[in-house]
Amino acid sequence: MTRALLTALGDALLDERRQLTADELAAASALPDAEVPALASLAHEVRLAWCGPEVEVEGILSAKTGGCPEDCHFCSQSSQFDSPVKATPFLDTDEVLAAARETAKLGASEFCIVLAVKGPDERTMERILELVPIVRDETGLNVAVSAGILTDDQAGRLAGGGVHRYNHNLETSRSFFPKVVTTHDYQERLDTCELVRKHGMELCCGVLLGMGESVEQRLELLADLRALDPDEVPVNFLNPRPGTPLMIRKPLGPLEAIRWIALFRLALPRTILRYAGGREITLRELQAAGLTSGINALIVGNYLTTLGRDPQEDLQLLQDLKMPVGSLSKVI
């Protein structure tokens, strides 16, 4: 039965080159743990067939940290929780540029400027629009931005200002969302994603697994993502943050994480699937396994407020796996 299912999934994605149905994905999600390596191996084949061997490398920077009025229960930057992360104002241009240069030196092609805000106010918009061409021209990096919920006008201005890709995460499914965010709703997130699309920026729409959502809710999230069809999906795993309501949750187990990376690849065969926050504590020694389970992009080095692995370890890993570093973007 299990073998037959894996064969059928492979036929669909590799021979027929069609997307899986919701039922097929649900069946794959129920495979026993012992079959996760086989599922991962299929996902790797699918990634190579649909996306090729290249891996996109990105660095990210929190350019305005903490003090966010929203209450995302996983986030150390919400002003509603007693978090040890101190709020700091917008970094100077020189500081942002220095961080972008650090990223460029590693051979990355992408740099994402991230702001802890509900959405950008006019001053923030002006700062972003000032920074983006400077960073792009000085470093040659594609510049992405993550600044929360946008209006139609703001999305248009960011696209016109050279923002190559905009990040706005769904994080979780519509049915689970109210359990982790109460200050804005799922629809507002979807609306911003649509605006990003409408104005011709690439859409980066990430998830955060391990907040207590069920298997069904992860499948529901996958269905929503498939409908949105983002260019990129960063896969974050919960890193329980001191002071936040989700600090008591245990990180996902490594095998479960690999299972879901593989399922994301099978559900989104042509999407850039990026290793993101929480992978160090979740996968521990299994970092290579994600890259052979469907991942084809990664954030190197540190995250917004937490630290990552030594970038050289990841770059060596890519070399060992014979995965060349390259940009997967469609529009450069």
Binding site: V85, A99, E102, L106, I281, G301, T306
Partner: protein, 56 residues
Amino acid sequence: MHCPGCGRPSEDCPGCLPAFDPPRYCADCGGWLAVRVSTGGWVARCKIHGETTAAR
């Protein structure tokens, strides 16, 4: 000395900083640090003791 995770004196907290976190409080005075994290490192600034940096 103070715990870099919560700022309490070391006698009261032997260390609660998670493995992949930069310091949040000054080890010398327990003051709250303004931390800037970037791809290749971090800079933590204490109002009294100035900046500490790390390559990662």
